[in-house]
């Protein structure tokens, strides 16, 4: 199996699906001539031409509105938001339109739409450009939210998302495009809405996704040196949330922490922890802890920014705390 980067894996998924289905096309800011702000669609403009790789004006509402409309009449648009922070400029289209149009009209409309967006902090981009607001989007029924943590998952999930008939927000992380991993070539599909055990262990369960997976894997390596075996469950999809592997793992370890990059309050961890208490209360041996971003907008200064983001030592400390 080839070891490729997250960027290449996403690029591969897009290309394979565009080759397979002429209804698939891309629209967004700088996706064409520029080759994508994060170089994911590099070469696409030359290969597929301006009709299938559409550079748009800076107009997030128009990008998403147009993608929704085109999806409703049978095309399969992939709308790229340059960063997820600009989703707020087009929030109405995501949560009020895409998430509701099918239900509100009694199932008449189908929206085979993918919204790709880059999120995450750690690049000194300042408060408005560094957010990890995944949980907000996962709040809305009618929208599916996917956020992979490995190149293979990125490829398999994105291909499934493009083939899905539902609107899906696909969240990538700005600092993970260079992450390498083995990725199957060609047809490789991973179902939306399935969590996965990424590392087996028996002492505690770490529930996480996306950037949190990268950090948790490192933390687990460190913990293993001290004889602590962490099991890591990667959510991969935030809505619909697949708790089964989480509960199964928890019933085995009886201790858990949740690691996410977003803010702790009202976050993914809050959801996961309550679900564990609801579904496996009898198995709880210690309070479940959350590792997340400090409750501040992210600052520009590198030291401060890093201090605000969850780090490997924070995960190790939380793991040891629940094992006390």
């Amino acid at each position: 199996m080839a070891k490729i980067t997250m960027r290449e894996a996403i690029s591969q998924a897009l290309m394979e699906e565009m080759d397979r289905d002429p209804a698939v096309f891309i629209l967004g800011e700088e996706v064409g001539v520029w080759g994508g702000t994060y170089a994911v669609t590099k070469g696409f403009y030359d290969k597929y031409g301006p009709e299938r790789v559409k550079d748009t004006p800076i107009a997030e509402n128009a990008i998403l509105g147009a993608a929704i409309g085109a999806a409703m009449v049978g095309q399969r648009p992939i709308a790229e938001l340059m960063t997820i922070n600009f989703a707020f400029s087009a929030m109405d289209y995501i949560v009020n339109q895409a998430a509701k149009l099918r239900y509100m009209f009694g199932g008449q409309f189908t929206l085979p739409l993918v919204i790709r967006a880059v999120g995450g902090g750690g690049r000194q981009l300042g408060a408005t450009h560094s957010q990890t607001p995944d949980a907000i989007f996962a709040h809305f029924p009618g929208l599916k939210v996917v956020s992979p943590g490995t190149p293979a998952d990125a490829k398999g999930l994105l291909k499934s998302a493009i083939r899905s008939n539902d609107p899906i927000l696909f969240i990538e992380h700005a600092t993970m495009y260079q992450v390498r991993g083995e990725v199957p070539e060609g047809e490789y599909l991973i179902p939306i809405g399935k969590s996965k055990v990424q590392r087996e262990g028996s002492d505690l369960t770490i529930v996480t996704y996306c950037k949190g997976l990268e950090l948790s894997m490192k933390a687990a390596d460190e913990l293993a040196k001290e004889g602590i075996q962490a099991e890591i469950v990667d959510l991969r999809t935030l809505r619909p949330l697949d708790m089964e592997p989480v509960i199964e793992s928890f019933k085995k370890t009886n201790r858990a922490i949740v690691v996410e990059e977003g803010w702790k309050s009202y976050g993914v961890g809050a959801e996961v922890v309550s679900r564990i208490y609801e579904e496996a209360f009898d198995y709880v041996d210690a309070p479940i802890l959350r590792v997340a971003q400090k409750e501040v907008p992210l600052p520009y200064n590198r030291t401060l920014e890093q201090a605000a983001l969850p780090q490997v030592p924070d995960i190790i400390a939380a793991a040891k705390e629940v094992l006390k």
Binding site: V33, P57, I58, N61, S89, K294, E295, Y300, N301, R302
Partner: protein
């Protein structure tokens, strides 16, 4: 304009140029992070514009803000320190390149969400209208920003409510890699103001005197008539959109052609031709700038990092 004022404009333009050049070096050396958008090539725009304001007039702009900050009177020290994320920057190192502001200098920020500050500019003017003063707000934004809804909502509101805003579109021909004609229904941006029944004009942004004259006229109109005004300033950025732009969307030839219209070169020649200044006087200004910027870099490099506790301050006022 008096000779001293003209020389001061020259000084400001050279200062912006040098701050940007040194900034680029520091970025390459890894001392500045994040996104950094240089103003090189566009110096005449904000220099001419801001020279025409009264100190009580407010200025607000987008993320390409270092030059605007300097023109508003924020020191090179503070600009450099903010770029380096130091405690002595005007935003305490929390904002960085894209977020320079000074309430004291009536500079209400660089803003990083494209077009997001446009309705806020209408709001600054609304606050002044409510207070029954005749301050005006100068709001600068790029050509690309005129394609987003914020722009249209802000312009419309300013006209309907008679807000004192001077809208200034810095048409530098591109929004990132997208040429104006690929993204905007009209490539003469000021036509958009027509749709809102707004008085408007276009001016050559490589000529600081032309920008100044146009801004004076516009500001007079806005103040007297209590109406918004739209000024399109045609200019060009000589560098990439931000640091690390592969610039696949334009030809080196095109950049070279515009560079022959260097706003600093044009003004330099103007001052000499009109015998307003001697070459020696201009050289002295350049040397003074060189020293000031070197000191600013030293100030920034030796300034302390913000304390870790700063992470939690300024989240709320109370």
């Amino acid at each position: 304009m008096k000779k001293e004022q003209l020389l001061d404009l020259y000084y400001q333009m050279v200062l912006i140029r040098r701050v940007e050049e040194r900034g680029a070096e520091l970025y390459q050396a890894g001392k500045i992070g994040g996104f950094m958008h240089l103003y090189i090539g566009q110096e005449a725009v904000s220099t001419g514009l801001i020279a025409a304001r009264e100190p009580r007039d407010r200025v607000i702009t987008a993320y390409r803000d270092h030059g605007v900050a300097l023109n508003c009177g924020i020191s090179a020290n503070e600009v450099m320190a903010e770029l380096l994320g130091k405690a002595t920057g005007m935003s305490k190192g929390k904002g960085g390149s894209m977020h320079m502001a000074s309430v004291e200098k009536n500079m209400w920020g660089g803003h990083a969400i494209v077009g997001g500050h446009i309705p806020i500019a209408a709001g600054l003017a609304l606050g002044d209208q409510y207070a029954k003063n005749d301050n005006i707000t100068i709001c600068m934004f790029g050509d690309g920003a005129t394609n987003i809804g914020y722009f249209h909502e802000g312009l419309n509101l300013s006209k309907v409510w008679g807000l004192r805003v001077l809208w200034v579109c810095e048409n530098n021909q591109y929004g990132m890699g997208t040429a104006v004609e690929r993204a905007s229904a009209v490539d003469e941006i000021r036509q958009k103001a027509e749709g809102y029944g707004m008085k408007n004009a276009a001016v050559n942004g490589m000529d600081v005197m032309a920008v100044y004259e146009a801004a004076k006229e516009a500001i007079d109109y806005v103040r007297k008539e209590s109406q918004p005004y739209f000024l399109e300033v045609n200019t060009y950025r000589f560098r990439g959109h931000s640091m690390g732009d592969p610039e696949r969307y334009r030809k080196a030839e095109e950049v070279k052609q515009w560079q022959e219209n260097d706003p600093i070169g044009i003004f330099n020649k103007y001052l000499l031709d009109k015998k307003i200044a001697t070459r020696k006087a201009l050289d002295e200004i350049e040397a003074r700038v060189e020293e000031e910027v070197a000191k600013a870099v030293e100030f920034a490099e030796t300034s302390p990092e913000p304390a870790l506790e700063e992470l939690f301050t300024d989240v709320y006022a109370e």
